[in-house]
């Protein structure tokens, strides 16, 4: 988490906790959302999940990372068969952006 090193270690923990909690809430909401569909898997990409995942991937690198965790938790929390591709897209966006930034900062 990029911002952790800025604050003192104690406050870090607090914000990290907040991030986890919002992530878990994202999971909750995703789970609830995905129960609107039938139990079997249909191969289609959910718009909401995709948007939130991409949003989350972007937001995780900004000071709004707490909300970002919520958004990226949304597709992950969806029940099995749903939201996997969306989550992977979001995660890959995050990883790519992080690497770019890291590369930009260091070299």
């Amino acid at each position: 988490m990029p911002y952790i090193t800025y604050l003192g270690e104690r406050m870090d923990l607090f914000y990290f906790n907040l991030t986890i909690i919002s992530f878990i809430f994202g999971n909750f909401v995703g789970l609830e959302y995905s129960y609107r569909y039938p139990p079997y898997h249909e191969k289609r990409i959910d718009k909401f999940a995709l948007i939130s995942s991409i949003l989350g991937g972007f937001l995780l690198l900004t000071p709004l990372y707490i909300i970002g965790a919520f958004f990226i938790g949304f597709p992950l929390g969806m029940r099995s068969g749903y939201g996997r591709i969306e989550f992977l897209i979001g995660l890959s966006i995050f990883v790519i952006l992080y690497l770019i930034r890291w590369w930009y900062v260091t070299g």
Binding site: F28, L31, E32, P39, R79, S80
Partner: protein, 144 residues
């Protein structure tokens, strides 16, 4: 809000065979199988009435079971609901004339009924998932 949500998504089952032919029980076992995988809905089958939220009853309630089922029902902590699976549990099915009570409804209140002899695993899962909402709303009903 969280309470309601959590109750919906985390469920422990207690399967009670009150003297049926095993058909329904075998189908419930099939629900555990990877194809249907009841656990993906957060439903755990562990026959411990103390942990259970949902009492799944299959079988036509033979005479020795009458008292025991009542005891079991008492043991399950609130909020609880009862799901009757299969023809036997609903009405006694083919065993109406035998040494059976016929229908679990005569002893304890039944919330959800799943007909069939036996019902398919997917039907059982569907039935249980539908009963989940009742579980979340049960507390309000209790208060009333």
């Amino acid at each position: 809000m969280i309470k309601k949500f959590v109750r919906k998504r985390s469920i422990h089952l207690c399967v009670v065979n009150t003297g049926g032919c095993n058909g329904c029980d075998v189908e419930i076992v099939s629900c555990l199988a990877p194809r249907y995988d009841i656990e993906q809905y957060g439903i755990y089958v562990h026959n411990n009435p103390r942990e259970a939220d949902i009492l799944v009853i299959s079988g036509p309630t033979t005479l020795p079971w009458i008292d025991r089922v009542k005891e079991l029902y008492e043991k399950v902590p609130e909020p609880k609901i009862v799901v009757a699976v299969g023809a036997c549990a609903l009405s006694g099915g083919i065993f109406k004339e035998g040494h059976v009570l016929g229908g679990i409804e005569k002893i304890i209140p039944v919330d959800v009924k799943i007909p069939g002899c036996p019902p398919r695993p997917s039907e059982i899962i569907e039935g249980i998932l539908k009963s989940v909402h009742l579980l979340a709303e049960k507390e309000k009903r209790l208060k009333k």
